[in-house]
């Protein structure tokens, strides 16, 4: 039961990673690509971490996994804000239409 839930979460996480990469490749400008990227970071890694936490050996190991995800959340959120403000400072216009 736990194993099948874990498998489901892992597969969902992989799907979000695919979505994030596809977004990075196919979206028309920096801002939209940034949006796709943060989906991969938050949800993709989050679901994978959740799936692995269900299989973890101990509470400490699960806590470490959660910690890794939270760190990456903070890092990618800030990175997104920095890149977006850099792009705006350079005068890159958002894609319209």
């Amino acid at each position: 039961m736990l194993v099948s839930l874990s498998i489901l979460l892992l597969l969902a996480g992989a799907v979000f990673f695919l979505a994030g990469t596809l977004g990075l490749l196919r979206f028309p400008d920096v801002y939209t690509r940034l949006h796709a990227l943060t989906k991969a970071d938050n949800l993709g890694l989050g679901l994978i971490v959740l799936g692995l936490m269900l299989q973890a050996d101990s509470l400490a190991a699960a806590g470490k996994l959660l910690f890794i995800w939270l760190l990456l959340l903070a890092a990618s959120a800030t990175a997104g804000q920095l890149v977006a403000s850099w792009a705006q400072g350079k005068g890159i216009k958002p894609w319209r239409g």
Binding site: D29, L71, A74, A75, T78, L82, K90, W95
Partner: protein, 355 residues
């Protein structure tokens, strides 16, 4: 389901090919910024390769340095070399941007299109001759010569591959010797035992080399004046969150190095990255701290290591031969001092000049 056994092999194959491709593109890319980003990606993939080769300590060091100090160093160096580097790759107006969306974004490339049409576009040998890399001399070798060299290089590569293939028996190495003496070494992890006890002399000299590199950098110029008015709130908040965590993780890595992959160098790399993050977020060392406290932190690693190594001579041991029972505290002291030093040296290397 025999193909399931091939999955690890497939992973290794993809990693190896990606590594080779990244290395080639990082070297042959005409745009320096692209080369730097490819090099950073190369560091990450190389870290994964180390993991697949069961060398987790090296993977820790590679990732800590590649994602941290090295990336920042290369970008800072690029900024000094080419102040407008990131501008050159960008379209200046909306019209160019729209054109970039549809077609090839690297606008000065008509020559490649016509050479591709005539079928002489270099396939194995990469990029265009028109976009000159910065600093390269005019006039590259003709295509025929390059193909000839490539053909001449193929037999030695095949020969090398055959030789390595013949070596595919597990070589014993020094694993048994280390395992036999591990109890006396003071730690339970063989890599740390080798680095800090059995081959401690090499580690001492590595620390000295790092210090020498910093002295070399300091002798070149004073520190650049990067006065940023205010960092963005998101970055300031992130640095306040991450810097203490990095210190904590560095301490954890030093501590766990006795039993599992970790150690002074990896912890020092994380500390160096903390220094880089603080520097980029606008923190400045107070002028009093850049005097002797900074210099003390820099030489502490080599000093403690050398002191302990020489002091044991007075107790009748050879150089760096820890007395029985004293190995663990000696290694711990050396690792703590080395971590502080390595972190400070790496951060000072990023800052790039004497204070």
């Amino acid at each position: 389901m025999a193909w399931l056994n091939l999955l690890p092999l497939a992973i290794d194959l993809v990693l190896a090919l990606t590594l080779l491709w990244l290395a080639w593109r990082a070297l042959s890319s005409p745009d320096l910024f692209r080369a730097v980003v490819l090099f950073i990606a190369l560091g990450l993939v190389l870290g994964l390769v180390w993991v697949r080769l069961d060398a987790v300590d090296i993977a820790l060091a590679e990732i800590a340095l590649g994602a941290g100090v090295t990336g920042a160093l290369l970008l800072a160096a690029l900024a000094k070399l080419q102040p407008g580097a990131t501008d050159s790759a960008e379209p200046a107006s909306a019209a160019e941007f729209a054109a970039a969306l549809e077609g090839d974004p690297d606008t000065p490339r008509p020559a490649l299109a016509e050479r591709a049409a005539t079928g002489t576009a270099p396939i194995a040998l990469g990029s265009t001759l028109d976009e000159r890399p910065v600093g390269a001399a005019a006039g590259t070798a003709p295509i025929a010569l390059r193909w000839l060299i490539a053909l001449l290089l193929i037999p030695p590569c095949i020969g090398l591959g055959l030789v390595v293939w013949q070596l595919w028996v597990p070589a014993p190495g020094l694993t048994d010797l280390v395992a036999a003496r591990l109890d006396e070494s003071g730690v339970t992890y063989p890599v740390t035992a080798v680095l800090l006890n059995f081959r401690g002399y090499d580690t001492l000299l590595e620390l000295a080399v790092l210090l020498l590199a910093l002295i070399g950098v300091w002798s070149l110029s004073p520190a650049p004046h990067l006065d940023d008015a205010e960092p963005e709130p998101a970055l300031a908040a992130l640095s306040r969150l991450l810097a203490p965590l990095m210190i904590l993780v560095a301490a954890y890595l030093v501590w766990i190095g006795a039993q599992a992959p970790g150690g002074a160098f990896q912890a020092g790399s994380v500390l160096g990255a903390a220094g880089v993050l603080l520097r980029l977020s606008g923190w400045r060392l107070s002028p009093r701290a850049t005097g002797w406290p900074l210099r003390l932190a820099l030489v502490l690693g080599v000093a403690v290591f050398a002191f302990i190594g020489l002091a044991v001579i007075g107790l009748g041991q050879p150089l760096l031969g820890y007395p029985a029972g004293w190995a663990k505290p000696a290694i711990l002291a050396i690792e703590l001092a080395a971590t502080l030093s390595i972190g400070t040296i790496l951060a000072a290397l990023f800052i790039g000049g004497r204070p």
